[in-house]
Symmetry: C2
């Protein structure tokens, strides 16, 4: 908390993102199995909320599309609360036309149950199974738009972090990806800290990278946004 | 919050549970699929925490075994944090020998994935399925102990509430069950309020019932504990 207070004092509001509209997703999604059971992903929402806070301080107009997480809405930020991946996709698509930058920071569930039971499922069997279908890929959907914003993805990996992140950058046609190793309990998920590997494609379409050393999520957020603002101004 | 403050003022600490040891479970459990994905149940933990708070005020020594929920530990209560149903079962079994009353208020996941992947599962298929096995039934395990405490269960149902609750009371050999209709969004889950149907077996093994009208979870908690204290003193 001391560090957070110092960070706040050192954070001068800048205008690096003045006039830009950012759409940021944060938190997990929950995919209903029945009215009481669901599938989800670990995510406190802190990294996405830190990005929203930092972007607003850098002069941006920020729309934060948040899955279920118990965090206060950052000052000056427009928040849309959703539960499932389909709801998040609909909310993002409803606001994306105005966006200059899209940051997909939410831990979106890749799959949802094929069938959602209206009533609590009564199961007396020793075993059961849940059939799942793929959820919409919000990040790929945004990057594939005819007028796609500058699109930043996140990759939470437990192994071969750099490999998977670069693959995702190319495959989903992202402008930038921030990757971290969630198997390291000092960073990620419910931690206050994070450490990231940033990858982006330069004007020659060559992949560049930068390591962001362990720091508070708000300091990491600021570095990601500064790099994005630089690339965005190069592209224009 | 005003109502909560008034409730607090009107709550005189009593000694109806003086010298009694209560073990209470609260919140959901999370069942890992891999390091980032899990299965869970909706539960804010509020009802279980309200029971712990009320029991402590009524003079009891309280051990609260809590699944993942973001609630402060009630004053004077011993808290054990767990994640999965198996961890909750182990924690309960470790303290149950001293208990006079056990309240299973947690929304324990009935099933867990058969196999937990060490690394994040990479899935490129349009469909997948998760195989599940049954979790330990903590409530039934406690009620089946040779020296079972007075055992209170909860039933969160979406339909045929009274039917399922009475069936659970008999089948799991509980002393009392508190049932609510979680399809009513005014009560249960993330609501501050609750309304309950209480069922118990009297000294002639006949099922008796009492409806607890909609009230704050702390008022409902107090009524459940008063009824339990009365039955417990009748049994002795």
């Amino acid at each position: 908390e001391l560090r957070e207070a110092v960070t706040k004092l050192l954070t001068v509001t800048s205008n690096e993102l003045a006039g830009k509209h950012l759409v940021i997703t944060a938190g997990p999604t929950r995919e209903a199995i029945d009215p009481v059971r669901y599938l989800s992903n670990h995510s406190s929402g802190r990294m996405g909320f830190a990005l929203a806070t930092a972007a607003q301080r850098m002069g941006a107009h920020v729309t934060l599309v948040a899955g279920p997480c118990q965090l206060p809405t950052p000052a000056g930020v427009t928040r849309i609360d959703v539960v499932s991946a389909e709801q998040m996709n609909t909310a993002v698509m409803g606001v994306i036309a105005e966006a200059d930058i899209f940051i997909g920071c939410a831990a979106v569930a890749d799959y949802r149950p094929t069938h959602v039971a209206d009533n609590k499922i009564k199961k007396d069997n020793d075993a059961m199974h849940i059939a799942l279908v793929k959820n919409p890929d919000i990040l790929a959907n945004v990057a594939a738009l005819a007028k796609a914003p500058f699109t930043i993805g996140f990759a939470a990996e437990t192994n071969d972090v750099a490999h998977y992140a670069q693959d995702k950058l190319q495959r989903k046609k992202l402008n930038m990806i921030a990757a971290n190793d969630v198997s390291d309990t000092n960073i990620g998920f419910n931690s206050e800290d994070n450490a990231m590997l940033l990858f982006w494609r330069d004007t020659n379409n060559t992949v560049q990278q930068q390591a962001l050393a362990r720091a508070s999520k708000s300091a990491i957020a600021q570095q990601i946004l500064q790099q994005a603002a630089k690339l965005l101004s190069n592209n224009q």
